[in-house]
């Protein structure tokens, strides 16, 4: 299995599989967030289920590993690709008609990481971390997610920051989804346009699902 690490296509398989895993996680996380639109109690119940239980901890560890691998390989690939490009650039910058997101996956990734750190500070630190360590890092009980959410989004600037973050995720995924299938060879002339459409559908569903909560707060302030 050494080829996964030392061949270009192997490294792309790692990017693809870790990316798809992260997309599945986003879908899961997004569906849970949607309960908040209907019931704060139901949302807190879910938060309670995902606290310090063994399965929540195991899930978190797998997720951390997935994120770490994706970021590590993204950085490795980006560095290798810059080296392959050579030190001399072109005088006339490229006029080739390509998608902006396709060329800026790493930049989008950095925005995603920054948003992620803020997000962990806003929620994870006050919830799962508080429950695991018993340290009171927030005003509420660790499973009172709904209270933390309404507190944070009471400030419109946080709604906007989260929406910008989601915008970066949308751009990352409009390229990422079809690219992941192309990377593992599951594409051809018929499937390329299909994957492309699926990319837009999946990224839009994920992002709209997440955006629903901050948008609701922006519009109705509850």
């Amino acid at each position: 299995m050494y080829w996964l690490l030392n061949s270009s296509i192997g490294r792309k398989v790692i990017m693809s599989v870790s990316g798809i895993f992260l997309i599945l996680f986003l879908l899961f996380h997004m569906s849970m967030n949607l309960t908040l639109l209907f019931s704060a109690e139901a949302y807190d119940m879910i938060c309670g289920l995902l606290g310090a239980n063994w399965y929540a901890i195991a899930g978190t560890l797998v997720l951390v590993a997935g994120v770490a691998v994706h970021i590590l390989y993204a950085s490795l690939l980006t560095l290798q690709n810059r080296r392959a490009r050579g030190s001399k650039g072109y005088l006339a910058s490229s006029k080739t008609d390509t998608e902006w997101s396709a060329k800026n996956m790493y930049v989008l990734g950095i925005i995603i990481v920054l948003g992620l750190l803020l997000h962990l500070w806003n929620f994870w630190y006050k919830m799962q971390f508080a429950e695991l360590t018993g340290i009171h890092t927030g005003e509420h009980l660790p499973h009172e997610g709904a209270a933390y959410v309404s507190e944070l989004f009471a400030c419109p600037c946080y709604c906007v920051i989260y929406l910008v973050w989601l915008g970066a995720i949308w751009l990352h995924l409009t390229h990422g989804v079809w690219s992941a299938f192309q990377s593992v060879g599951l594409s051809n002339k018929t499937w390329y346009p299909r994957w492309k459409t699926i990319s837009y559908v999946v990224s839009t569903i994920i992002v709209l699902g997440f955006a629903a909560v901050p948008i609701k707060f922006l519009l109705f302030n509850v």
């Binding site: 030392n6 270009s8 792309k12 490229s94 008609d97 390509t98 060329k103 192309q182 060879g185």
Partner: protein
């Protein structure tokens, strides 16, 4: 009416592989729209020779879009602003009077500049040497009807075979990746019965060589297929990925 234009050229000049290069600016007047881009450079070179200066070195051979030698990065496009043509098929009618045109060599770590606008594309030959051929004994020439090949498959193979190995895909790619070239060379054989036998091994060997030569990792930006003079599709890259993974899982 025939159009003639006056242009300013910014051309990359570099005396040798180890020398420091720089851009030189040249003015050319009264260039006919029917002049091809390379003929325009010939006119420039004549002018330079008459002035006692070194002519600009650039690769070219057939001047009809089949050999893959011509290789200029013109105004931000490999092979210039027109689509589905090589540099030698580009005409000056695509430019306007008073334009400044930048002419640069392919840029990629695996394609070092030899002189001026010429780059060393021997890396492509090395990739071909690693497996871009059929080495099984296919016997005598069979009857044309003996091995039926579906039309869509034959078309795919022919489309892949139209790659002329120019390297515009590498020049266009922000990752300096040679995947479009390699995928065309793998596909043209993998799709046909004679080449299918060694398809997996070929993909494995050619990718290993490609990586070793320092080409980048493909991130599916599609810049290659946008600039390929032969319209080779990235569906070939998906096929190459597939063949490579099949080879690795069969190990």
């Amino acid at each position: 009416m025939e159009k003639t234009i006056n242009i300013t050229l910014k051309v990359w000049r570099q005396k040798g592989p180890k020398e420091q290069g720089r851009f030189e600016t040249y003015k050319l007047n009264g260039i006919s729209g029917d002049t091809s881009f390379l003929e325009m450079l010939d006119i420039l070179n004549e002018q330079l020779v008459n002035e006692g200066k070194e002519p600009v070195a650039f690769d070219n051979d057939c001047r009809e879009g089949i050999c893959g030698m011509c290789s200029l990065y013109i105004n931000g496009h490999p092979h210039g602003p027109d689509n589905l043509i090589t540099t030698c098929q580009l005409h000056m009618r695509h430019f306007n009077d008073g334009d400044t045109i930048s002419v640069e060599p392919w840029r990629s770590a695996a394609f070092p500049v030899i002189r001026d606008l010429m780059v060393d594309r021997y890396a492509f030959d090395k990739i071909i040497q690693a497996g871009g051929y059929v080495s099984v004994n296919t016997g005598g020439v069979p009857d044309a009807n003996a091995i039926p090949i579906a039309k869509p498959i034959a078309d795919e193979a022919m489309d892949a075979a139209s790659c002329i190995g120019c390297g515009a895909c590498v020049a266009a790619c922000k990752n300096g990746s040679a995947m479009l070239f390699v995928s065309a060379k793998v596909s043209q054989l993998a799709l046909l019965p004679q080449g299918k036998v060694e398809a997996k091994e070929r993909a494995r060997a050619m990718i290993a060589r490609m990586d070793e030569l320092g080409f980048g990792n493909c991130t599916n930006t599609r810049a290659c297929e946008q600039e390929c003079p032969k319209g080779v599709s990235i569906s070939n890259i998906a096929r190459l990925n597939r063949e490579f993974l099949k080879a690795k899982f069969a190990e």
